[in-house]
Symmetry: C2
Subunit: 339 residues, 2 copies
């Protein structure tokens, strides 16, 4: 096994205003650091690209501390152990964890999770079996609490989390309506993911379309986007509906402040709730969720759609694809050679 001696990585240079620019990071090489006792050195293979990354670049209180200026950009991913001073890890092991936006990660072995390529390929561990799948699973089932026969609406339906949310809701016997941008994405969620209907927010009046596709009201609205689509969903809630706050991608790059949902008093009229969650809180139950999702995938009931972008140097541009809404399914950055 040859170990490279340099590690190229993105460190945060500036806190962005609006959309992040390439100059908000420094991209440079440093020597690979050999592991200390308890640590492992991981060759990074695939990194998850997440809208949440934008939030991690901001200062201030959130569910996770901000990335410090000068620190390696936070990123979750998978890779292969090349050197280990942790008793549970050996060279050749495949692992997932918070590897960072870099080619090599040297970190505490207890922060890594071993993954099994006999269950699913490497990329699946950053999508349906990674944070994306966990977010969809716990957000929908634990917060949204859908019941068979109810109507579940998900925004960002063609995106990483949305595409899994809708499929799990179908498995649970719900009627599922996706909201996505463009005819091709709408076709994707209906034809390839099996949603019952899709609304193209770029071409349709979402409020009117929801009335049509959810004539008895929306029981669960899984929100990835915020903004006018959240407001449209609020106008069409069933009684005792649950709005799952997962994200607000429409607001992350706003330079004029977040626009709150002006129809929020519909929560009162319909006796509904809007609730946030953070997937890390469910860490002790990840294995349970991963087993269930893997089972659905093996049974052909759930597909993990992934789009791979190659080369760590493309990271700043690749991230912007998320905000331009260019991806179907999970956007993944391929860093090193395949396993």
């Amino acid at each position: 096994m040859t170990i490279a001696t340099t590690n190229r990585r993105f460190t945060l240079a500036h806190r962005p205003v609006g959309l992040p620019k390439r100059s908000d990071w420094d991209f440079a090489a440093e020597p690979v650091r050999a592991p200390d006792a308890g640590e492992a050195l991981v060759e990074v293979r695939y990194l998850s690209l997440d809208p949440a990354m934008r939030g991690w670049m901001n200062e201030g209180r959130s569910y996770i501390p901000p990335v410090e200026i000068g620190a390696v950009m936070r990123a979750f991913g998978v890779g292969r152990v090349v050197e280990s001073r942790h008793p549970d890890l050996a060279p050749g092991d495949h692992v997932s964890g918070g590897l960072g936006m870099q080619e090599y990660a040297t970190l505490d072995g207890s922060h890594l999770t071993k993954i099994d390529l006999r269950v699913a390929p490497l990329t699946t561990y950053v999508s349906a079996l990674g944070g994306t799948g966990m977010t969809a699973y716990f957000g929908l089932l634990d917060v949204g609490k859908p019941e068979a026969g109810q109507t579940v609406v998900v925004s960002g339906a063609a995106g990483a989390v949305g595409s899994v949310v809708g499929q799990i809701a179908k498995i649970k016997g719900c009627r599922v309506v996706g909201i996505a941008g463009g005819a091709e994405k709408c076709r994707f969620v209906v034809d390839e993911l099996g949603f019952d209907a899709a609304i193209d927010y770029k071409a349709e009046d979402v409020r009117k379309a929801l009335r049509e596709h959810a004539p008895r009201g929306v029981d669960v609205y899984f929100d990835n986007v915020g903004g006018p689509i959240l407001d449209a969903a609020l106008t069409n809630l069933a009684r005792h509906a649950r709005i799952v706050l997962c994200g607000a991608i429409s607001q992350y790059n706003s330079t004029t402040g977040v626009t709150g949902p002006s129809n929020y008093m519909s929560l009162l009229v319909t006796r509904s709730r809007m609730e946030g969650f953070v997937v890390f809180d469910y860490a002790s139950r990840y294995p349970e969720a991963a087993r269930e999702i893997a089972g659905w995938m093996q049974a052909g009931r759930l597909v993990s759609r992934e789009e791979i972008v190659e080369g760590i140097e493309t990271f700043p541009d690749a991230l912007l694809q998320l905000f331009r809404g260019e991806n179907n399914g999970k956007l993944i950055l391929k860093v090193g050679a395949d396993a």
Copy 2:
């Protein structure tokens, strides 16, 4: 018993734009209608003045149908039966119900509830033992679910519902912070109602004051007002906090649309929920709540503070007192002679 032959009443003439004007109603006399089989004729004594009345005047979907143009303005109140063709009601009985903004109500006897003046005086049945008390009780306890030792913040703290919410939260062992407008109201909620602290939103930075008075964060925020105060509360939630949406008095008369809470994503960061409720859903449990509230009053642990305005003809101006925030406690319109 002398029965008047004319009934003066307010009927809705126009749907208001902004603050309601006197000309939005017609005030006229009509002959008193004798009860049909199953009905009772009630001499109205006290009517509840509620911010919610403003919403009932609007067209459109809500938790209750709008008051129709030409119909008697909806109002809850108490009175005395003067004539009955309902088997359970006799002249002299005191009753509560949806009597309407008028001097005499002829209505289905099954829509009336008999009340007992040995338990509490008549006015209490439109305040702590009426819809106000029921709203405070079920909103706080069933939706807010406060636990002893937690911090409960209530806006509109000197108002009808807020003043009861804070007192119940104290009884349940919570730390209670009220938000009210003006030094006198703040004195009232601390000195007379026993809240732990009060924030004068007209003189203080609410966000900063909340950080000071709720250093471990707000566990339950009972919202009667919406607007910037809701946004301030959102910035200071404890983990797994509950925001109870009871009202949004700051928004009811807006002519430029409702302003949504721009800090709503704090629900995600803190894993919190914002939930609406409608007190009518708890009707089957009103007796249980009334028994408990009456017990607290008899034990001197809860006071029902009431402000009485006299004369049905003053209704349009009296209603505006609510929106100007002039009342401490429950604002009640006295219609007829006392019981």
